[in-house]
């Protein structure tokens, strides 16, 4: 039955990773009492590596990124370790934290229009980090920024500098945001749904720009998205998140060909396929938030393979064949999940279209 040999070596512990998150737990106050939004996130991003963080809305993807920036809502309780190049982000002094945000890590957002001061020009925005924080003279900063705009595919950068955010389209402004993120020469870029607000062709271009930046500048990237295909195409490794826990970590091809966690299999099955006119399959039940799950496995309520152990004991993320999975039955389900990825997950009769609940 046990066809997979558990391995003890992780692929990326050889060198100090750029970012290492270990057993991160975050609770934020809801109506006065702390509610957990992140249960157990363990994730590393190697130097120069692109990691995709995939999951449904409310699974805690953005909260993980915010924890990494130390930008959690007021009153948040954080347990576990978040390390940037070995340094604990939680322990940083205010001065160190600003320097960290200014030059080590940068963020790109889903809605660029909302993340830029509408009353200042694009140029003001782009040089802000350089001039205000790194004290680069304005003229020099502008030259650098124009070069960056060219790098992200905006040829007439000098003209764009004097324009206002509302004069730029979403795709164009997202490129500006990427240029702004690159301007301070960070080591890590967090891209929080950077392409969700863009149309498909622009999406591809933006991802290609990020990919190029990663390769040419040796950047580490954390790409947060709910689009599994996009993440698979853009990232070296994928981490699947559900209800505040990372349930599986694998390389893109490995995940698609052989999911080890029932939830990953469900996500894969729910992808629409071009050219096939069929009712979209869904993962049964509705996505749970971090504060809704009990002591057991976070996915237990919706899982077709649930056992008593799953309900009572939460599985930890463990290494398996160079991948990581948080499921008690990963070994026995290996191979069972694969065909399910092509049929309705959790349904009694595989292969049969079922009315989504």
């Amino acid at each position: 039955m046990n066809t997979l040999e558990p391995t003890t070596t992780l692929p990326d512990t050889a060198v100090e990773p750029a970012v290492a998150i270990e057993h991160l737990q975050v609770r934020i106050p809801v109506d006065g009492s702390p509610a957990p939004v992140i249960h157990d996130v363990t994730l590393t991003i190697g130097r120069g590596e692109a990691v995709g963080l995939v999951g449904e809305s409310g699974s805690g993807k953005s909260m993980t990124a915010r924890a990494l920036m130390r930008m959690l809502p007021d009153g948040a309780e954080v347990h576990g370790a978040i390390r940037f190049e070995g340094e604990d982000v939680q322990e940083m002094s205010p001065r160190r934290l600003r320097a960290y945000r200014a030059s080590s890590i940068a963020m790109i957002y889903q809605n660029p229009h909302a993340h830029i001061n509408p009353l200042r020009t694009v140029g003001d925005f782009l040089v802000e980090g350089l001039c205000q924080v790194q004290k680069v003279p304005r003229r020099e900063a502008e030259q650098k920024v124009v070069a960056l705009l060219v790098a992200v595919g905006i040829a007439d950068g000098a003209r764009r500098l004097s324009q206002y955010p509302h004069e730029l389209s979403g795709g164009l402004l997202q490129r500006v945001m990427i240029a702004a993120a690159l301007a301070t020469e960070p080591d890590v870029i967090l891209a929080d749904e950077p392409t969700t607000a863009l149309d498909v062709t622009t999406q591809e271009e933006v991802i290609a720009i990020l990919r190029e930046a990663q390769v040419q500048r040796g950047l580490s990237i954390l790409l947060i998205t709910h689009d599994l295909d996009l993440a698979g195409a853009a990232c070296d490794r994928l981490a699947v998140m559900y209800a505040g826990q990372v349930v599986e970590v694998a390389d893109g091809a490995g995940l698609v060909e052989r999911p080890l966690h029932p939830y990953s299999a469900g996500l894969l099955a729910a992808r629409p396929e071009i050219g096939v006119r069929a009712r979209l399959r869904t993962v049964p039940g509705r996505p749970a938030s971090g504060f809704e799950v009990g002591d057991g496995c976070v996915f237990a309520e919706r899982c077709a393979f649930v056992t008593e152990q799953c309900v009572s004991e939460r599985p930890q993320l463990r290494s398996l064949e160079g991948r990581q999975v948080a499921c008690h039955r990963a070994e026995e389900l290996d191979g069972v999940l694969l065909p399910l990825a092509d049929g309705p997950v959790g349904a009694d009769a595989p292969g049969q279209d079922k009315e989504p609940s």
Partner: protein, 296 residues
């Protein structure tokens, strides 16, 4: 890509945005009434500055033989009980009557904006403390505070100015706080924080300019209230002292004549106060409406 699209701004809007003064020009350009009132208030300041040139007589030149007269060719608004020219006193009165409120609101605004931005930014215990302190301050009527200060430092214009400068802080802070809070919660502010931009820079270069239209509107309205309050203090005899010319004081000294059926001194000063207060109120309301529209 976009310059050919529908989102091209009008040249006026683009120029306004580029000027770095978010709304000033456009409000006055689009709103004739606001423009007219601004010009009127500007002229009033000019009158105060040029009082020695404009006034037909010296403000304290008495002509006892021509006391308590109605309007005439020699004295356009008549004379007071000491035979001083009322028009000249009204013109000279513009100085103290306007200077007081301007100083009061200037000081109060600087304090209020500083407190609001810092408390909204820092939050937590400091924010709660500032909120409570302002509430306590708000419960003191400015006039009572002014009387207390006058009791300590003595009558004159300094006491009431100090008192009202303090009393107007919560008055202005209370309206600005929600605006600043909303601006602070905008995601672009978060993004700036994540860029590592300092809190000081974000407050001064981003928050302050973006709440400026609201500051301007509410400060204009508060100016009218301060004018009335300071005139009232002088009217009850605790503010500006005779023989200086000031509108509130003029209303008070004209009372004897008023009861004798010669209302000129009190009446002209009253009208002056009234006209200025109405002007700044209408202007303030217009600016507030424009700021509201601007702020989506």
């Amino acid at each position: 890509m976009t310059s050919t699209g529908l989102v091209t701004p009008s040249p006026r809007r683009a120029r306004r945005l580029r000027s770095g003064q978010p709304a000033r020009r456009s409000v006055l350009r689009q709103d004739r009434v606001a423009l007219g009132l601004t010009i009127f208030l500007g002229l009033l300041v000019l009158v105060a500055l040029l009082a020695p040139v404009l006034a037909p007589y010296a403000p304290d030149e008495t002509d006892i033989l021509a006391a308590s007269q109605g309007p005439s060719g020699a004295h356009l608004l008549g004379t007071d009980a000491l035979g001083r020219d009322l028009l000249s006193r009204l013109i000279y009165g513009t100085r103290l009557s306007l200077l007081g409120p301007v100083v009061v609101i200037g000081v109060a605004t600087v304090c209020a904006v500083t407190l609001v931005l810092s408390s909204v930014w820092i939050g937590g215990r400091y924010d709660r403390f500032v909120g409570k302190a302002l509430s306590v301050l708000f419960s003191f009527p400015g006039l009572i505070l002014a009387i207390v200060v006058v009791a300590i430092v003595g009558a004159g214009i300094t006491g009431p100015i100090v008192a009202f400068s303090i009393a107007f802080i919560p008055y202005i802070a209370r309206v600005l706080r929600p605006v600043a809070l909303r601006e602070r919660s905008m995601t672009y502010v978060n993004a700036l924080e994540m860029l590592g931009v300092s809190g000081w820079t974000i407050c001064v270069r981003h928050l302050l300019p973006n709440i400026f239209p609201f500051v301007r509107a509410h400060v204009t309205i508060a100016l009218g209230t301060a004018l009335v309050d300071l005139a009232a203090v002088s009217y009850i005899g605790l503010g500006v002292q005779a023989p200086a010319a000031e509108w509130g004081l003029q209303i008070s000294t004209g009372q004897a004549d008023l009861l004798a059926g010669k209302p000129w001194e009190s009446l002209t000063a009253c009208v002056a106060v009234l006209v200025v207060v109405i002007a700044v109120n209408i202007l303030g309301e217009r600016l507030a409406a424009a700021a509201q529209k601007e702020g989506r």
